[in-house]
């Protein structure tokens, strides 16, 4: 028998457990992101000027969908975990049949006038599938390589499909989410060593056989961006100049010349942070990076307070998603990492990307709100005591 209060917590959305911190952090990032997009697209080609409005629409839609996702008990997702994963895979395969070709890679499926990017949503499905796997396999002793085969396969299928598009950025995100989730569990030292060594061998082979020329070029450019200013080094160089020109306090909103005079390519998709850094300077960047850092740490905290393995892995997965996106993008824009097309969560324009992050935050909220929930079996036994 359940108390009324327990029932209310189970089905409803109790006000006192709503995660205001998560909500406000994400909202702050979204608002800053929209304002920044306004600056980024203010003088560019006329076609870009309504991008920030679209972004608002996507954020609102994402908020609604995120709320829906947050309200439904995440145990339902656990139940449907592999099904959702399967649907995601089917869409990834569909990309090859229906895909639209943009800049040499097909990542999109057209639905009406919208382009829809299944690989974005696949990240969430992968997290759910991995969470379900670890939930269903509750061992506590250290895992060996054999125990990692199943989750590795779960990851490998979408990763290879995404690589095939080709979309190196998303494939890397898949791999790093998998690695993060793996690190959550106990793994034998021998296994870790083996993985590290084999990666050392596989990477050069990847370079030779898997990477496309333009991807290789990006890596070489990363190593020496000033060598070819008019060619491939253009993006990296001008992004770096824009950031540096921001100084302590920035040149002011919509005053950054690197952006206003079109020296930043992809200023709304891959390089919005450079625009932000130029406009707001180091102080602005400090606030923004701190917000991302806080969001990731908060996700870890949510995981730590989660009541079951599925919730914990789900929170860690979404946290890893945000973390790796942010780190890859910021690293790329500041020149710590090679240029890989990875978006900055809530900052980069793009419907699929925004929706994915909003749904992910919905999942985080879901886990967070249910941190006081008591497993039915234990509750019964506890209640039966008095």
């Amino acid at each position: 028998m359940r108390s009324r209060r327990d029932q209310a917590r189970f089905f409803g959305m109790p006000r006192d457990s709503f995660d205001w911190t998560l909500f406000l952090t994400a909202s702050a990032l979204a608002v800053i992101g929209v304002i920044n997009l306004y600056s980024a697209t203010s003088v560019a080609r006329a076609a870009l000027t309504d991008i920030y409005i679209q972004q608002v629409y996507w954020l609102v839609l994402g908020g609604i969908l995120g709320a829906v996702v947050a309200v439904i008990d995440y145990r339902h997702y656990e139940r449907l975990g592999y099904l959702l994963y399967g649907v995601g895979i089917i869409f990834l395969v569909l990309v090859f049949i229906l895909g639209k070709d943009i800049r040499g890679s097909s990542r999109w499926i057209a639905i009406g006038s919208f382009g829809f990017q299944p690989s974005e949503f696949m990240k969430l499905f992968l997290i759910i599938a991995l969470a379900k796997y670890l939930h269903d396999d509750p061992r506590t002793e250290a895992r060996s390589l054999k125990d990692l085969i199943a989750p590795a396969l779960l990851t490998a299928v979408p990763t290879l499909l995404v690589l095939k598009q080709p979309d190196l950025g998303t494939a890397l995100i898949h791999l790093f989410i998998f690695a993060t989730v793996c690190l959550l569990t106990r793994i034998r030292w021998q296994t870790i060593t083996g993985i590290v060594v084999s990666t050392g061998i596989l990477l050069p082979m990847m370079w030779t056989y898997v990477l496309k020329d333009y991807q290789k070029q990006r890596v070489t450019v990363f190593l020496n961006p000033e060598a070819n200013l008019l060619g491939a080094g253009w993006h990296a160089h001008h992004a770096r100049v824009a950031i540096g020109a921001g100084g302590w306090t920035g040149q002011g909103f919509m005053q950054g010349t690197q952006n206003q005079f079109l020296f930043l390519p992809d200023q709304h998709s891959d390089f919005p942070f450079a625009v932000f850094a130029e406009d707001w300077g180091f102080l602005g960047c400090f606030v923004l990076v701190s917000l991302y850092g806080f969001l990731v740490l908060w996700a870890i905290r949510i995981a730590a307070t989660a009541k079951d393995r599925f919730g914990a892995v789900l929170a860690i997965g979404v946290g890893a998603l945000i973390f790796w996106h942010a780190v890859f993008n910021l690293g790329m824009v500041t020149g710590i990492l090679p240029v890989v097309g990875v978006t900055l969560p809530l900052f980069s324009a793009g419907g699929s990307s925004v929706l994915t992050i909003m749904l992910g935050i919905g999942l985080l909220m879901n886990v967070s709100m249910r941190r006081y929930w008591i497993s039915p079996a234990r509750t019964t036994s506890l209640l039966s005591r008095d």
Partner: protein
């Protein structure tokens, strides 16, 4: 709370990891912040500078080249606009662009056909241009050549330009840009002394901008390249254009403009905010030059030479050394070489000039050396008088020949017994052979040198030749064999190794006329600003004073007067009673020997003597000295002297007209039309038809090519027939 008591065994496996994950996340974001600190705070100023330089472009502001005027203010060299058409391939032919092809139905249309029609391109040119455009548009990304304008037509006629401007809407991607081109309104006249302009060549440019100079500071670059030469600049190539380049050129200005990444200029307040002072430097226009040349006299000089294909005339003011006319024939039209009509046209014009056997590009007044012949005799006579070797009244007997050993030196006539005055007037060689025998070569050379012969005059315009006045030591160096008296004899009559330029000879005769002052020749009278105020005025400059006793000089002047005015004088038959002229004729052997390979007609022409006449006028109070050289013209008295007379007459007519105009009314402005009319009527007695190409109404048209590959002058019917005996009297008539 009861639920806190719930054991969470199933998540305990993860417990220890959260802290580590949080640490990793913290470190990762800290690294990002550290990097941002490095970029924005530590190196922020550098990057701000780079960002600033990215949007600021220094645009050079063109300057205008100075104008060259003659002594009367007539424009000899100025600037005009040449209109060139540029096409942006991607806009002219959108159908050639790959992205356009993949996205059909955009409303852009090819304007190519319309433009090609307007430019009157022939099918071949059209085909080539279309290929060029398609090649440029293989890609059409932002920095592809597809968007870079290409030059298709230079120096369009004004009606085509008007058509393009009027129908601009139908000719997308075409633009007309104007470019200043040097313009010489007098075309061929005074071409050698004016010179022409051309695009700076790589070698000259490398002198001003040596490799690696881009890395130098702007001050160092300024020092190396004070006039700011850049590739494609127009510079003076010859003549005044070249030697006065630094005055004529002017200095470019610059202006800072705000550009975006695609090179488009941005204006408005937010762009202006980025401009730092100083944002503009005004260009300095080039200085104008006023020459000493009188173009009206120059034209009459040219007219006087009409009957002859090759030669030179110098008219110099005896009192100042200012050059009133300098003419070298054949000439060329500097407009053909100065650009504007396109590089192909220039190359074609150069090719034609370079292959002409009469060497039209050579300025014969100062770059060509010739035997002076008998015009040298006054200096030999002076040498005898100065060193008192013989009395001017001593007579020598002329039998028409003189034999030295096995050699026989001839005279043109049997003059009988002549003294110095008669010998000069009648141009007796025998007298001078005998004189030379006693005077010796070195004394003659000393006097000739006193008068500036055999040395560069320092005019500094075109590459000047020195000529040569031989001495015994020169012969000693030159000939291994024994010195022969024949060398001295030849020297005394301006043959042998003696060579001078017409300019030297004119200045020397001016010195004979003015009492022995050898002036530096002056071509540029003043440097002026574009509004006409004088910046620098050049007074006459004395080069040297010949140390000659006045009575000896007077004796020579008297003899030169007799040449023209006494009935035995060589120039007496062609004298003009209205003119007071003193001068000396010359018929110089060329020493040409047919190597056996030359065409007989050409050999005949080349073996003919050079005709000279050197004079000053008026004889008693000289104002001008005139030297006329007709290359391979034949006899000095009959060919060169009439030309000189005509020039002198024209000079006096012009001087009188100007004096009366000045006296008549100071209020009345000189009307150039009047002057032109009177000049035309005065010049209406051309003695012979002109050689081809001289008065052609459109000097750009080439003269018809000779079917035999021979220059047209060799078969000119007005020349003496080729059957004339080659062994004509080789010495002075």
């Amino acid at each position: 709370m009861s639920n806190l008591l719930v054991p969470r065994t199933d998540v305990s496996e993860f417990r220890k990891r959260y802290r580590w994950l949080a640490l990793v996340a913290f470190i990762a974001f800290s690294i990002v912040l550290g990097r941002l600190f490095q970029l924005q705070v530590l190196r922020g100023a550098d990057y701000a500078q780079i960002a600033h330089e990215n949007v600021i472009r220094r645009v050079t502001l063109p300057t205008t080249r100075g104008i060259v005027r003659d002594s009367q203010g007539r424009v000899l060299a100025s600037n005009r606009s040449s209109f060139n058409v540029l096409l942006v391939p991607g806009r002219v032919m959108p159908s050639a662009r790959p992205s356009r092809r993949s996205r059909p139905g955009v409303e852009e249309h090819d304007s190519f056909t319309r433009i090609a029609d307007t430019l009157r391109l022939n099918p071949d040119e059209r085909q080539r241009l279309a290929t060029r455009i398609r090649d440029a548009c293989i890609t059409d990304e932002d920095r592809s050549p597809c968007w870079r304008p290409i030059l298709v037509r230079e120096d369009l006629s004004r009606d085509i330009v008007a058509e393009i401007k009027q129908h601009a809407a139908e000719m997308t991607g075409a633009s007309v840009v104007s470019q200043p081109v040097r313009y010489y309104p007098y075309k061929n006249q005074a071409a050698h002394l004016l010179g022409y302009t051309s695009e700076i060549d790589a070698e000259t440019l490398a002198k001003y901008r040596p490799p690696g100079s881009d890395q130098l500071s702007s001050e160092e670059r300024q020092k190396l390249n004070p006039l700011g030469y850049e590739p494609g600049d127009i510079v003076g190539a010859t003549g005044v254009e070249r030697s006065w380049e630094s005055y004529l050129r002017g200095q470019r200005g610059w202006e800072k403009r705000v550009v975006d990444a695609r090179g488009r200029y941005r204006t408005g307040p937010e762009a202006d905010r980025l401009l730092d002072a100083p944002s503009r430097q005004e260009p300095l226009p080039g200085r104008d030059l006023r020459l000493t040349i009188d173009m009206e006299l120059e034209q009459s000089v040219q007219r006087a030479m009409r009957a002859h294909v090759s030669g030179a005339i110098v008219v110099v003011d005896v009192r100042t050394g200012r050059l009133l006319a300098l003419y070298s024939k054949p000439d060329f039209d500097p407009n053909d070489l100065a650009g504007g009509s396109g590089k192909d046209r220039i190359r074609e014009a150069f090719g034609k000039l370079a292959t002409d056997p009469l060497r039209p590009m050579l300025d014969k007044t100062m770059s060509g050396v010739f035997h002076p012949g008998s015009t040298f005799k006054p200096f030999s006579a002076l040498a005898a008088l100065e060193d008192k070797i013989l009395s001017p009244f001593d007579k020598e007997r002329c039998d028409g020949y003189l034999s030295f050993g096995r050699r026989i030196f001839r005279c043109a006539h049997v003059h009988g017994r002549v003294d110095m005055r008669e010998a000069l007037a009648e141009s007796c060689n025998i007298y001078f052979y005998k004189l030379a025998e006693s005077v010796g070569m070195d004394r003659i050379a000393r006097i000739a040198t006193e008068f500036g012969l055999g040395q560069k005059t320092g005019i500094g315009v075109n590459p000047e030749a020195a000529g040569r006045i031989p001495t015994r030591s020169w012969y000693a160096l030159r000939y291994k064999g024994q010195f022969r008296i024949g060398f001295t004899l030849n020297t005394s009559i301006g043959q042998g190794a003696t060579t001078v330029t017409p300019l030297q000879l004119a200045l020397a005769y001016a010195a004979l006329g003015n009492g022995g002052t050898v002036f530096s020749p002056q071509l540029v009278r003043a440097v002026e600003t574009s509004d006409g105020s004088v910046v620098q005025d050049f007074p006459p400059r004395v080069r040297q004073k010949a140390k000659i006793a006045p009575e000896n000089l007077a004796r020579i002047s008297d003899a030169l007067y007799a040449v023209v005015n006494e009935d035995k004088g060589t120039a007496y038959p062609v004298r003009d009673r209205t003119l007071e002229v003193a001068g000396k004729t010359g018929t110089a052997q060329t020493g040409y020997v047919n190597p056996g390979t030359d065409d007989p007609k050409k050999a005949w022409y080349l073996s003919r003597d050079h005709a000279w006449f050197a004079a000053y006028s008026p004889a008693k109070a000289p104002e001008i000295a005139v030297v006329v050289l007709v290359e391979h013209g034949g006899s000095g008295p009959t060919v060169a002297a009439p030309i000189a007379m005509q020039v002198i007459k024209e000079y006096h007519r012009l001087a009188a007209a100007r004096a009366s105009k000045l006296a008549g009314s100071n209020a009345k402005k000189p009307d150039p039309k009047d002057a032109k009319d009177s000049k035309d009527s005065a010049g209406k007695r051309p003695p012979a038809p002109q050689p081809a190409g001289d008065s052609d109404p459109s000097p750009r048209d080439p003269p018809p090519p000779d079917p035999n590959g021979l220059p047209s002058w060799l078969s000119d019917p007005n020349d003496e027939p080729a059957s004339e005996p080659v062994d004509e009297p080789r010495d002075e008539p």
